[in-house]
């Protein structure tokens, strides 16, 4: 159960090797989290991630989970909930893709869309149903500022996040008043494996900062969280920049 500060005792991370996901798990373990499920594609990295959290004192288990294999979600994820309440689900999987290449490789582009959007719709619905049955819990969805307004430079990824963001908002409204809380997190540029080697965008932040914002959002039961917070205003302005001008902006 969550405490008065919204700190969960049990956590399920979808995308168990995600740097943001693991930073969040570490932060919550320091508060109240004792049980962590890391769901992800089996790999040495997944095992290492589990070990790193065990070293902090948590009881950690891994489950095979592939966002693209939507047919397996109901069974794989459903089983986790039969073993005990999950106070918080963090939907952290996602791929950035390679915009330049993906534009000429539709199959690769579709994989980005299927991972970030279709996979999340499927896993999100399965988890939402299970949370609703237990009558409490938070579903925290890692969206992105890239979904707020699609840019020339990454519109394949951006459009998948736009879809995810809209889905998560709607789901949050559907679950309003059910005791289940859906929180959409929109980070800007986060220095992680996903963005390694890319030129940093302004207001770049860290996985730890995203984790801190998530902890705060849980306490406040926020519906939307921007990281850093200043992006809320920046993006409010960016949203209204006229297209001809936006096209030429170096963002």
């Amino acid at each position: 159960m969550k405490d008065a500060f919204g700190a969960p005792q049990s956590l399920l991370v979808l995308g168990g090797t995600s740097e943001i996901g693991l930073a969040t798990a570490r932060r919550l373990i320091a508060r109240r989290t004792r049980t962590v499920w890391l769901a992800g594609r089996p790999s040495p990295a997944l095992t290492a991630a589990a070990d790193s959290l065990r070293a902090l004192g948590a009881d950690v288990r891994t489950v095979p989970f592939d966002a693209l294999d939507t047919a397996s979600h109901e069974e794989r994820l459903g089983k986790i909930f039969t073993e005990g309440d999950i106070d918080m689900v963090l939907l952290a999987f996602g791929v950035l893709g390679d915009q330049a290449r993906d534009e000429s490789d539709p199959v690769a582009a579709v994989r980005v869309a299927q991972t970030n959007y279709t996979g999340a719709v499927s896993a999100g619905l399965v988890c939402a149903g299970a949370l609703q049955a237990q009558g409490h819990g938070s579903l925290v969805v890692l969206s992105s500022v890239a979904g707020e307004r699609a840019r020339r430079a990454d519109f394949i990824y951006g459009s998948s996040k736009a879809g995810l963001d809209a889905f998560a908002q709607g789901l949050g409204d559907a679950l309003h008043g059910t005791g289940v809380h859906v929180m959409v997190v929109r980070p800007g540029f986060v220095r992680s494996r996903m963005t390694a080697g890319l030129a940093e965008a302004p207001l770049a932040t860290t996985p730890e900062a995203v984790a801190a914002a998530i902890e705060l959002g849980l306490r406040r039961r926020s519906e939307t969280v921007w990281v850093p917070g200043a992006l809320r205003m920046v993006m409010a302005a960016v949203r209204h920049v006229p297209r001809p001008l936006f096209r030429r902006l170096p963002v």
């Binding site: 159960m1 008065a4 500060f5 508060r31 609703q132 009558g135 559907a174 679950l175």
Partner: protein
């Protein structure tokens, strides 16, 4: 599993405690009689059931996510009254407010009242509540002469003091069963007025000395400490003691001479439902505390006060729990044994140094420990303060205070708790294992459960 677009059915409700934190959805049943209560427990489904009174517990004691909650306020009849012996038998959903309305005119008062009279008899037993008379009268459970308990198997038992089930139930937070009715021993009073002594005390040490010296001379005693005052003023407080005023103590032409047992509480309008958070910052609360201390009489004796003004000043404002905004608040109520005054001083200093915007906190001396296995009181000093959960770093800070409290052999009050770590709890409640063992035999499938029970693995 499909996502429903709205709550499962009309009976489902998101419930939270008085602190308005950690809401959870439950199917709420409102039994009107024993049969309906039995049916609700037997048919509660895999996530179990728990009773709820008026929801005055601050945290998650009276909620049950995904399961059933029995709203007991429909069982609200006073069943029998013996005005010569001072005994009342009533259903568990009767509030202390209702008891006062019914019994005061007959010259009887409830044996123990907490800081609000809007609690039910069931809730008062399940939390084994204490009042400002604990040093002399003990907890609520001590005045219960029998109770009827609906257990997980659907059976109804009469439970008598001195039995393990009784001691597990008083303070047992609804986890041994649903209390259906209880017989209480009452306190005779001649008037509905209190004779009150108030004095300002400059610091914590003087306060402790004053309380130790002559607490026993009064039925009710507690002090309020300004936890925002620092330096030499750390622990400055107002000490209030009172006794039920005998008829002869009323001045010759006092109104109350004609209607000495009248009970007419005043109620003000409630704050609006959506108050923005953070209104009560350090500055505003500090100003309030300053005025409160300055306007308290330096020393006054024999002042007459109505019962509601003396015991339940906050009850005058319905829904006052809204003032902390949407993020909610919590109550930190702990006790440390006598001999651990240094711990108390340190905690008071730590809270003062941190500058938590807390309205004056309540300090009281407890009497002997009560028999309930999970009852809160033990012989020592108890301090209670309300804090908004939005204070930065509050969670960690309170965890550190828990360590001090547990290390000194003290504990926090479970009915007010919404945040303690399960690991710390075992150190605070040495009889926890007995409680768990009794539950395991009485209710092997854990039919009776609550969010608090899940959080603390009771």
């Amino acid at each position: 599993m499909a996502v429903e677009t709205h709550v499962l059915d009309d009976d489902c409700e998101a419930l939270s405690g008085w602190g308005r934190t950690a809401p959870a959805l439950a199917r709420v049943r409102r039994p009107r009689g024993h049969a309906e209560a039995v049916e609700a427990v037997l048919g509660c489904g895999p996530r179990g059931a728990v009773a709820r009174g008026l929801g005055r517990a601050y945290g998650d004691a009276a909620q049950n996510a995904g399961g059933t909650v029995l709203d007991m306020t429909g069982l609200d009849r006073i069943l029998a009254l013996d005005t010569t012996a001072g005994l009342v038998v009533c259903e568990a959903g009767v509030s202390l407010h209702r008891l006062m309305e019914a019994l005061l005119p007959l010259g009887w008062f409830v044996p123990v009242t907490p800081g609000t009279r809007y609690v039910t008899v069931g809730g008062a037993i399940a939390a084994d509540i204490h009042g400002r008379n604990h040093h002399g009268s003990g907890s609520f459970g001590r005045h219960v002469t029998a109770l009827e308990l609906l257990t997980a198997d659907g059976g109804i038992r009469t439970v008598l003091p001195g039995t393990p089930l009784f001691d597990a139930t008083t303070g047992g937070l609804g986890l041994t069963g649903v209390i259906l009715s209880a017989a209480l021993r009452l306190l005779p009073v001649e008037t509905s007025l209190m004779r009150v002594e108030t004095e300002r005390v400059p610091d914590l040490d003087t306060l402790m000395a004053r309380l130790t010296a002559d607490d026993h001379a009064h039925r009710y005693s507690a002090a309020r400490i300004d936890l925002l005052a620092r330096g030499a003023a750390t622990g400055r407080s107002v000490l209030t003691r009172g006794d039920h005023a005998p008829y002869d103590a009323l001045p010759r032409h006092h109104r109350a001479r004609r209607a000495p047992l009248a009970f007419r509480p005043v109620r003000l309008p409630a704050p609006p439902p959506h108050v923005p958070g953070g209104l009560l910052g350090r500055a505003s609360v500090g100003l309030f505390n300053e005025l409160w201390y300055r306007t308290a009489p330096r020393a006054a004796t024999g002042r007459l006060q109505s019962l509601p003004a003396f015991f339940h000043p906050l009850d005058g404002v319905p829904h006052w729990n809204r003032i902390h905004g949407r993020e909610g608040f919590l109550q930190y109520r702990f006790v440390v044994p006598y001999g651990q005054e240094e711990t108390l001083r340190r905690i008071v200093r730590r809270i003062a140094d941190r500058g938590c915007p807390s309205f004056p906190a309540v300090l009281k001396r407890f009497g002997a420990a009560d028999p309930g296995w999970l009852s809160f009181p033990l012989p020592g000093w108890t301090l209670a303060l309300d804090l908004p959960t939005g204070l930065p770093g509050l969670g960690r800070f309170l965890d550190a205070l828990d360590e001090e409290v547990a290390g000194a052999g003290g504990r926090v009050h479970l009915a007010e708790d919404s945040r303690v770590r399960p690991e710390t709890l075992a150190a605070m409640y040495p009889r926890l294992d007995e409680f768990r063992a009794l539950r395991a035999t009485l209710d092997p499938r854990s039919v009776l459960t609550s969010d608090l029970a899940r959080r603390l693995r009771l």
